[in-house]
């Protein structure tokens, strides 16, 4: 098992940073925070000197660090402000065709639900992979993911957005 050298890291960074940023941005809902978290995740991965035994292993480690950083940040903000700081949905029901409305509905979910749904649907990860990315047990992921999907379904239903494509 070798260690990551600078060239290998540059190639890894080029392949993963964009997808990681999209994931983090969609979960935290703020570009500036997303940039900080992505940078910190890469730095922590490098400082941890993770063995470079396969890109998937490194990627999983990176996502786990980023996910933990997002949870920390969210907890910190919630503690500071005494409330959930995630964006609220406006009173007017959004139209499904509207991108901003889609983003707002997604932002209304809890950060952990957003992370789970993103990893499952966008990244196409299995339960085992999600468990590894989030640093939780596989059995727990099944339950959490089911609840996240149910909450999203309820949310879509309450907004009148539960349409079958």
């Amino acid at each position: 098992m070798g260690r990551l050298d600078e060239a290998a890291f540059a190639a890894f960074h080029a392949r993963t940073s964009r997808a990681l940023r999209a994931y983090v941005y969609r979960v935290v809902g703020n570009a500036s925070d997303a940039d900080d978290i992505v940078q910190e995740a890469f730095l922590r991965m490098l400082r941890a000197d993770v063995p470079a035994d396969g890109e998937e292993h490194l990627r999983r480690y990176l996502y786990r660090v980023a996910s933990n950083l997002m949870v920390d940040r969210w907890r910190h903000r919630t503690h500071e402000q005494g409330e959930d700081v995630m964006p609220e949905l406006t009173s007017a029901p959004p139209r499904y065709e509207d991108d901003a409305a889609v983003a707002k509905v997604f932002a209304e979910l809890k950060p952990r639900d957003r992370a789970l749904l993103w990893l499952a649907y966008v990244e196409g990860e299995s339960h085992e992979e999600i468990a590894s990315s989030l640093g939780v047990g596989r059995r727990g992921v099944k339950v959490m993911l089911f609840r996240a999907r149910r909450r999203l379904r309820d949310l879509l239903q309450s907004r009148g957005l539960l349409v079958n494509s």
Binding site: E6, F9, A10, H13, A14, S17, R21, A22, Y25, R26, A31, S32, D35, V38, Q39, F42, L43, L46, R47, Y96, D99, V102, A103, V105, F106, L117, W118, A120, Y121, V122, G124, E125, S126, H127, I130, K142, L145, F146, R149, R150, L152, R153, L156, L161, L162, V163, N164, S165
Partner: protein, 85 residues
């Protein structure tokens, strides 16, 4: 791909459709100039070096107050003895 359970097909399709919309949402460009891979690599190496230096310095930092306290006690004892003499 993840295997699903418990939601009906209509709900599942609606969620999948919604998530595909979420996946295609535009991600804004970085607000500030974020460091590239080479800068991150250098920064990580620098931090690792600082941490190594801090680790090496720690025993010295730990001993310093003990040395000062020892010196003060010794001075006190000497002063006491000089009064007795």
């Amino acid at each position: 791909m993840t295997e699903w359970f418990d939601l009906n097909e209509v709900d599942e399709n609606a969620i999948a459709t919604f998530m595909s919309r979420v996946a295609n949402l535009r991600t804004p460009k970085p607000e500030t100039r974020t460091p590239d891979a080479a800068q991150l690599w250098c920064k990580a190496k620098l931090i690792a070096r600082w941490e190594a230096e801090r680790r090496a310095q720690r025993p010295l930092d730990f001993m310093q107050p003990i040395e000062i306290a020892g010196g003060l006690v010794a001075a006190g004892v000497l002063l006491y003895l000089s009064f007795l003499a």
